[in-house]
Symmetry: C2
Subunit: 325 residues, 2 copies
DNA sequence: TTGTAGGCGTTATCAA
DNA sequence: TTGATAACGCCTACAA
């Protein structure tokens, strides 16, 4: 691979000059620019980003740690993050934590070694102190770690409220919420809190079930639904903590011959694109994934540039009614 | 951030020695190792991978270019690739090409600048020459570029055959195949070829429909299905080019009141995990995604190490019957 | 067994 | 307006 020196030699100038036209810095005669540019083209020269990064002590890489890209919500979020990062001249290093404490820690170490300019965390299994100590631009999703680490989330409370109100308005009298483990994700647990408060406010009976781990495991959801229909066969409205759970609920109803929405109404959360492939299409509370992804990237960049950031970014959700309510 | 020199100073040794314990090279007394290790721990030292990469001219980064991570098949594949890359000490730079020629080219340039050790291509919109010229360890999925660039794919032909035979065995007499654009992906088009040949062999009438772009667009699929049911209402067996298309087909049947599998039988391709969320669960030809991901990583590593590689790796598929056949 | 010196490819700081 | 020189942080001869 040709280096800056090769280009310099070919163009009959110094490496410094080549660097200057590369970065468009300082005063350069048009003639020189042309000459250098031509040499670069002829050699098919590509600046070595490793060397640049080392020299500038800035890698233009953002690390992304999420539970699993193949989960639709995280897949979509990742796409948006990648898209915006790329537009801003940043690259994305992808890490699937599998919600595993040790893996997450190893990835953080790895990303620090790689001198990423910041880390976007969609997975958080470690202690608050572990994150605070790492002294790197950080952004989290759905998790408040400390006032100086900004987090991005959808308006979980309002989303839970909207969903619950919709079910009640449609005439449901026995509600159920099925969600992930509450302890591990306090902010998205607000969906559940809103559900319970709204149900109580309207004097509607309800039950809340949660997985006991944070594994996003389809089978765990199916077991919960099994339990739900066994112990509470009278349930006629389900607010699922995610569209995936909602899909499980829909399937559980179909298996048991419960008509949706006639016998049981279902609404999910997230608004993933794949939702439209189901029949009937699932109603959902849509998170503004694109805006969230863009914001997360911007928050890293602002921190990199030493600009101040708020500690919380709560984005509005939108009720998207499908055919399950 | 502390450097190797800081560690050396603190441990009272030279930087070389620190480098040695870091890389566990050469002869070192236990005592020294301990001392250096302690200094590293106390300083919370992390070796700068940028500097290491520059010095060794090896970045331990693999670039992955795919159409879109949020497509379930690519999401799962990406997860496996990331997993195996990480195990081998490699990091993954993620690029979504959106099947866009220009974006793909820009990403390739970017990855070359980043001095990635190799590129795994799940997206290929450029000309064969463009790939051949880049002179970097490369692996492609479902695309044969040249004898010296290995490709990984599932046994597309056999998969198409298995699917078609199953439909015929179940009694289907009017078959349809719905797939992506045939020109852009010659290898996965073999699924279609096998479908047609098998149908002819069994004297079963069939029709093949394809999207006219390579966009993985849900709506395009829906339009095709619309066309299918309009022009060929007698179809009683559908072989879909992917599980996503199969899901669309299932939905199309449900919307039109066609019972599945009684009136129409459906089988997809890929074997994505989300398949199990549908009801009825979709039958599919399962690609060994984990093995394919691992293999792709291994093929990059072998090329990096100068080991020879074959030009084609065709992995066996498996028929996974759900409830739609 | 440990240390010194030079180089990896760029960029930044001075001079000229 | 351009060029020489010293970093950036690490690794690898070569010495000692």
């Amino acid at each position: 691979m040709p280096t800056i020196k090769d280009v310099a030699l070919k163009a009959g100038v110094s490496a410094t000059t080549v660097s200057r036209v590369l970065n468009n810095r300082g005063y350069l005669s048009e003639e020189l620019k042309q000459k250098v540019q031509q040499a670069m083209d002829e050699l098919n020269y590509r600046p070595n980003e490793l060397a640049r990064s080392l020299s500038r002590s800035k890698s233009n890489i953002i690390g992304l740690i999420i539970p699993h890209v193949s989960l639709p919500f995280f897949g979509e979020l990742t796409s948006h993050i990648e898209e915006h990062a790329y537009r801003e001249g940043y690259k994305l290093l992808l890490c699937n934590s599998w919600q595993d404490k040790q893996k997450e820690q190893e990835y953080i170490n790895m990303l620090r070694s790689s001198r990423v300019d910041g880390i976007i965390m969609g997975s958080h299994t470690l202690e608050v102190e572990d994150y605070r100590q790492m002294n790197l631009p950080l952004v989290t999703f759905d998790r408040q770690i400390s006032p100086d680490i900004p987090y991005v989330c959808s308006d979980n409370y309002n989303g839970g409220k909207l969903a619950t109100i919709l079910l009640i308005q449609k005439g449901c009298r026995r509600l159920a919420h099925i969600g992930g483990h509450p302890k591990l994700n306090i902010l998205s647990h607000l969906r559940c809190v809103a559900f319970e408060e709204t149900a109580r406010l309207h004097s509607v009976r309800y039950v809340s079930l949660h997985t006991d781990n944070n594994s996003f495991d389809f089978e765990a959801y199916e077991q919960l639904l099994d339990q739900l229909f066994r112990e509470h066969p009278e349930v006629d409205g389900i607010f699922a903590g995610s569209d995936i759970i909602a899909a499980c609920a829909l399937k559980a109803c179909q298996i048991r011959g419960r008509r949706v929405p006639e016998d049981v109404r279902i609404i999910g959360y997230d608004g993933i694109a794949l939702r439209s492939l189901l029949y009937p299409a699932i109603s959902s509370i849509r998170q503004p994934m694109e805006a969230m992804g863009k914001l997360a990237v911007d928050l890293i960049l602002r921190q990199v540039q030493g600009e101040p950031v708020e500690s919380a970014y709560i984005l509005p959700v939108e009720l998207e009614e499908g055919a399950t309510t």
